[in-house]
């Protein structure tokens, strides 16, 4: 591809653009770099920048010991896993119904599903709180996850994919005596693997980061996820010790950030795939 190597708009433009792009890039990284600086240096260097400042992990140790972070990590892990499994199973079944079968009222049902894309549980906090109270589930990990188990987004995404499965494959399997469930498991699911990966990554990062609903529905260490734990920790326990707060902040986002750095390409592609409908 010789055509791509030459720049149709001249080299001067390109240098200018590279500089501008990097200025913006550094600006974008600045808050994160600043947080990392503060977290890895003693408190007296939190806002003083010097190359000779000693590095330390003490802030992380202090943060880890100051609040029940191991429990919060466990809670978030349980929450994210539970939601992921429930969403995958429920969305697969519903998407299979919508893509393989024609039934009376299927369009109305699908419209009802799509409504959740606009009216998410995120904004119906008062009523959902009452429901959780009624069910006696308030302040449990289940209550944080339950409103998100049925994901319109997941159903929509999988339905689109299932519709592209060649009908001949389906019919061949049926002729050989496979049941509806076997056809789903042997034919449809394997063909939708990239979509499952995309949806999974988006789901994990969404629910790892979710904050307002868990803040409302939990009030004990046993059920709080990391985001709420971090908020409780930084607003009440610490006053203004920024070194410890930033270490806690980095600590709670570290697993997601590491996963992102390792699987950058998959992440970007997943968000792309999941977003384009």
């Amino acid at each position: 591809m010789i055509a791509q190597a030459t720049n149709p708009f001249g080299e001067r433009n390109k240098i200018l653009e590279t500089v501008a792009a990097w200025v913006l890039g550094l600006l974008w990284l600045l808050p994160l770099i600043y947080a990392i600086w503060t977290a890895f240096h003693p408190a007296e260097f939190a806002t003083r920048f010097s190359l000779t400042a000693p590095l330390t992990l003490q802030n992380f140790v202090n943060a880890w010991n100051a609040a029940p972070f191991p429990r919060y990590f466990l809670n978030t892990f349980l929450l994210v896993t539970m939601i992921l499994i429930a969403q995958m199973v429920l969305a697969t079944m519903a998407a299979y119904a919508f893509s393989r079968y024609r039934f009376r009222g299927d369009n109305i049902m699908f419209m009802l599903v799509l409504m959740q894309l606009m009216v998410m549980p995120d904004i119906l906090i008062v009523e959902n709180y009452n429901t959780m109270n009624l069910l006696g589930l308030r302040d449990t990990i289940l209550s944080i996850g339950l409103p998100y188990f049925a994901s319109a987004f997941g159903i929509f995404l999988l339905r689109q994919t299932f519709k592209t499965v060649p009908r001949e494959l389906d019919e061949a399997a049926t002729v050989e005596g496979a049941s509806a469930m076997q056809v789903l498991w042997k034919v449809y699911v394997p063909l939708a693997k990239p979509i499952y990966l995309a949806f999974g990554l988006v789901s994990i990062s969404t629910h790892w980061n979710n904050f307002l609903w868990p803040l409302i529905v939990t009030n004990s260490v046993e059920s709080r996820p990391l985001t709420v734990g971090l908020q409780v920790f930084s607003s009440t326990d610490q006053g203004v010790d920024w070194s410890i707060i930033t270490s806690a902040t980095l600590m709670t986002s570290a697993p997601l950030l590491l996963a992102f750095l390792l699987f950058q390409r998959q992440f970007v592609q997943s968000f792309m795939r999941a977003g384009i409908r």
Partner: protein
Amino acid sequence: MNRTQFSITPWLLLMPAMVLLVAFTHYPAVATIWHSFFSTPKGASPSVFVGLENYALMADDPVFWRALFNNLWFALGTIPVSIALAIMMALWVNDKLLGRGLLRLAYFTPTVLPMIAVANIWLFFYTPQYGLLEQLTNALGLPSHNWLGNPDTVLGCMMVVAIWKEAGFFMIFYLAALQQISPVLAEAAGLEGASRWQYFWKVQFPLLMPTTLFVLINALINSFRLVDHIVVMTKGGPDNASSLLLYYIYEVGFSFWDSSYAAALTVVLLMMLAVIAFVKFRILDRRTHYQ
């Protein structure tokens, strides 16, 4: 295959998801509207039908109007800037610039971080006296300023955080769209003597229109849905200058425990989302199929 004749199978497949959707999306949406016509039960006095009283209260509530207009300003201030930045980022990352892998990483990283973590970092950024911003203005000899403590600047500060968090997310949709544009178009434009600027406005921008509309809708929904940073950084203050609609609902519902008034406020939020949905399905979805 039972594609046409009646079969119980699809209903069985659909049921678990449908039950949960109705329980946590449709029922609460309808119940919100219903409860907005009743009073909040308090101690011995049960909930009674009060008609439009909650709405009359709302019309006279300056905090509600403040939160609503803040929210509109917030949307108006964040969305065009995020979209412009996202397009710029996507153009740069799409060109073969030096270190574009790293650049893409830099732009996209804020998207992966939890909003609450982002808010903590930015809170430190804005802190009076020893925050980074304060140090910067001191070094330049500018007067000290309490960024989050001043009603005139606090909403702007919140907008900056939202833009920083979202621009990289929108970038990837533009990146995907740009990759669909044939490089031959750039060649031809270059041969015709078009400038980079002309090529962008006359060729790339029009081709990116469907993406822009898609991003616009998502950004609009997000501006009404995301209030994590408000909870962490300002609690709506000072003097409700940074309160957004959902944050005010949260405050009324869970600090003042006035669930009926919170329901009436939620109805307003639902109406805003209904308008967005209407615009999306009726107008935009029809227009964007020309590609």
